[in-house]
């Protein structure tokens, strides 16, 4: 058991090194990706700024609280991004072109084999850095003073959020085993995840329910932020359950998908 874990750890480090090496070879691409990402977050922040030019509070949230939420939402997203971006390729073309087979003929777990082709995606690093800057800046503007418990839980909250992002992505990417390509539905899911960057309170109740219990992106930012900002643990207790449920569901779909794969593509 530990030997397997150690083997995968060593492999991860090695393949991560390969990933970083690749970055150096495609420097322009990296700069473009990181730059595009910064522009995106910049525009998101600008939109929040423009909204708060008109009113002092939205749905009971102040400007800095919304920025805190926006920043925090980037952390689990970035962590997920760092390791699982190859899932986009699965949804896009690996089944369509029959290329997925190569993960089935290697003596490592197929999911690991797939993900490891793009470990340490640089866009993820950008998200983590920008997110952390936003969170700390907004937090200090708010005069936030977290308790020891909040400090201790914060990394776990980010980790669970990342796992939820990964699970949703894996779920929709795995649909490609049935639909040949599932890129559109992955886009749709990502688009829905954008809701998580703003306070849930402003949405229609049906949308709130969707984001909490169906595509549980609320647990990646809103729920943790409510806890970190106010200490309210109302929904927080559900976080482990939701995370486990999402991950297990996604893995089940992935496994069924693998067994369906026939390499013929389209």
């Amino acid at each position: 058991m530990t030997r397997t874990a150690l083997r995968y750890l060593r492999l991860s480090l090695f393949l991560g090194g390969v990933g970083l090496h690749r970055l150096a070879a495609y420097r322009l691409d990296f700069v473009l990706g990181a730059g595009a990402f910064l522009v995106r977050v910049g525009i998101q922040t600008a939109v929040v700024g423009l909204v708060f030019r008109q009113v002092p509070a939205v749905g009971g949230w102040s400007y800095h609280e919304v920025l805190f939420l926006l920043g925090f939402s980037l952390l689990p997203r970035g962590l997920d991004h760092l390791f699982t971006d190859q899932l986009w390729e699965l949804g896009r073309k690996l089944v369509q072109r029959g290329e997925f087979y190569r993960y089935l003929i290697r003596p490592v777990n197929p999911l690991f084999s797939l993900l490891s082709e793009r470990f340490f995606h640089p866009d993820g690093l950008g998200e983590l850095i920008v997110g952390a800057v936003l969170v700390f800046w907004a937090g200090s503007e708010l005069g936030l003073d977290p308790t020891a418990a909040q400090w201790a839980l914060a990394p776990l909250l980010v980790l669970c959020g990342a796992l939820i992002h990964t699970a949703v992505k894996l779920f929709f990417a795995s649909l490609s085993f049935w639909t040949v390509t599932s890129l559109p539905s992955m886009y749709a899911a990502t688009q829905v995840s954008e809701f998580a960057a703003y306070p849930l309170d402003i949405y229609h109740s049906s949308l709130r329910a969707l984001l909490t219990w169906v595509l549980p992106f609320a647990f990646t930012s809103y729920v943790p932020c409510v806890y970190l900002l106010t200490g309210d643990t109302g929904l927080l207790v559900w976080l482990p359950v939701v995370t486990a449920g999402a991950v297990l569901t996604a893995l089940a779909v992935w496994r069924r998908g693998i067994n369906r794969f026939d390499m013929t593509g389209s």
Binding site: R7, F14, L15, R22, R102, I105, P107, P110
Partner: protein, 355 residues
């Protein structure tokens, strides 16, 4: 190869696919918006065979005989609908990771290398993934350097390599971890004679030194002849031939002999005389004043034909080439095609067309 225990066993191996029906053209595409009909196509139909350890076997069948599908089940990529197979004692689709250690795979049309990395980088990753011991890795790299000129591929990303270069890397990658069995599905190595020879040497070495079993499917007769020593011909579920390539050639229903024609008799007249004397035989002018005689094995023995020719002509120089493997296989393919076209048989499967 007699007496070797089988390294691959297939028992009643069957694979069915659901295929969506779609009408032609725009209307057909529009119709799929609202309905979607499926039909079941049986790509592999109850195939049973055994492949002895250490053999170099060509897996032969017509388009749609389910070659690729069978290979996909043997490599663990696909799970059979029914029946089962064993590779080195493992059911591949049940224990993919364990199976992966003992096999090497090349799918000619789809790369398994890292698209945007160089070949040496890909190999370094494979070394880690397969836990290849340092001495083995070094020995194999040295071999590839020597035989496949792998160094010439340099630091070019795989996606920028030519097909021949990529094939070299794919073949090397499939052997890098000293697998017990390698499966090469349409490796399209028929591109380059030099490369083909190198691959043959490589395979022979692995075969002799490590007892590696090779399973090849190919449309290229040259590839088959260069690499394989035995053939497994499958015709819709049944093994119709298993044995050496020579045995397969002996199943040819025609033989031929060619000789230099030196008689004063003009060539067309000579041909006519042969055809008159041996009814059912076809005699034709060949290049350079030669006559080629084709005779059905069912009607005449070689002895009868040669005796007739010796009797009538000045047979100073003659050639009796081996039956053409291509002809033999074409016959297998054609028989396959006519038989599977009969209405009570399942339709030809789709996999070969989509590959």
């Amino acid at each position: 190869m007699t007496g070797s225990p089988p390294v691959i066993v297939a028992e009643n191996l069957t694979k069915e696919f659901r295929v969506a029906e779609r009408g032609p053209g725009l209307l057909g595409a529009l119709a799929t918006l609202f309905t979607r009909e499926h039909r079941i196509v049986r790509a592999v139909d109850g195939v049973s065979f055994e492949i002895p350890a250490g053999s170099r076997t060509a897996y032969i069948g017509a388009n749609g005989a389910g070659k690729s599908t069978t290979i996909k089940m043997l490599t663990g990529i696909m799970t059979p609908t029914s029946g089962r197979c064993l590779v080195a004692g493992i059911e591949p689709y049940r224990e993919r990771q364990r199976n992966a250690r003992s096999i090497g795979v090349v799918f000619g049309q789809r790369s398994q290398l890292w698209w945007d990395l160089s070949v040496p980088d890909s190999f370094r990753i494979l070394r880690r993934i397969y836990d290849i011991p340092e001495p083995v890795y070094r020995r194999n790299l040295r071999l590839y350097r020597e035989l496949l000129d792998i160094d010439a591929l340099g630091t070019t990303p795989v996606r920028q390599l030519s097909l021949g270069q990529r094939m070299r890397a794919e073949i090397a990658a499939s052997l890098l971890h000293d697998p017990a069995v390698v499966f090469w599905d349409e490796p399209t190595i028929g591109l380059d004679m030099v490369l083909k020879e190198a691959v043959r040497v490589l395979v022979n070495r692995a075969n002799q030194e490590l007892g590696t079993t090779v399973v090849l499917t190919s449309h290229d007769i040259g590839d088959i002849a260069a690499i394989c020593d035995s053939a497994l011909v499958v015709d819709r579920g049944r093994v119709v031939h298993q044995g050496t390539i020579q045995d397969l050639l002996r199943t040819a229903d025609r033989r031929s002999v060619t000789f230099d024609h030196r008689d004063p008799l003009p060539l067309p007249a000579a041909c006519e005389e042969i055809e008159r004397g041996l009814p059912g035989v076809r005699a034709s002018e060949d290049d350079g004043g030669r006559i080629r005689v084709d005779y059905p094995v069912a009607a005449f023995t070689s002895r009868q034909v040669l005796a007739f020719l010796l009797d009538r002509f000045d047979l100073a120089d003659c050639y009796a080439p081996e039956p053409d493997l291509e002809d033999v296989l074409r016959r297998v393919y054609e028989r396959d095609a006519t038989e599977s076209a009969s209405p009570d048989q399942p339709a030809a499967p789709v996999e070969s067309g989509a590959a």
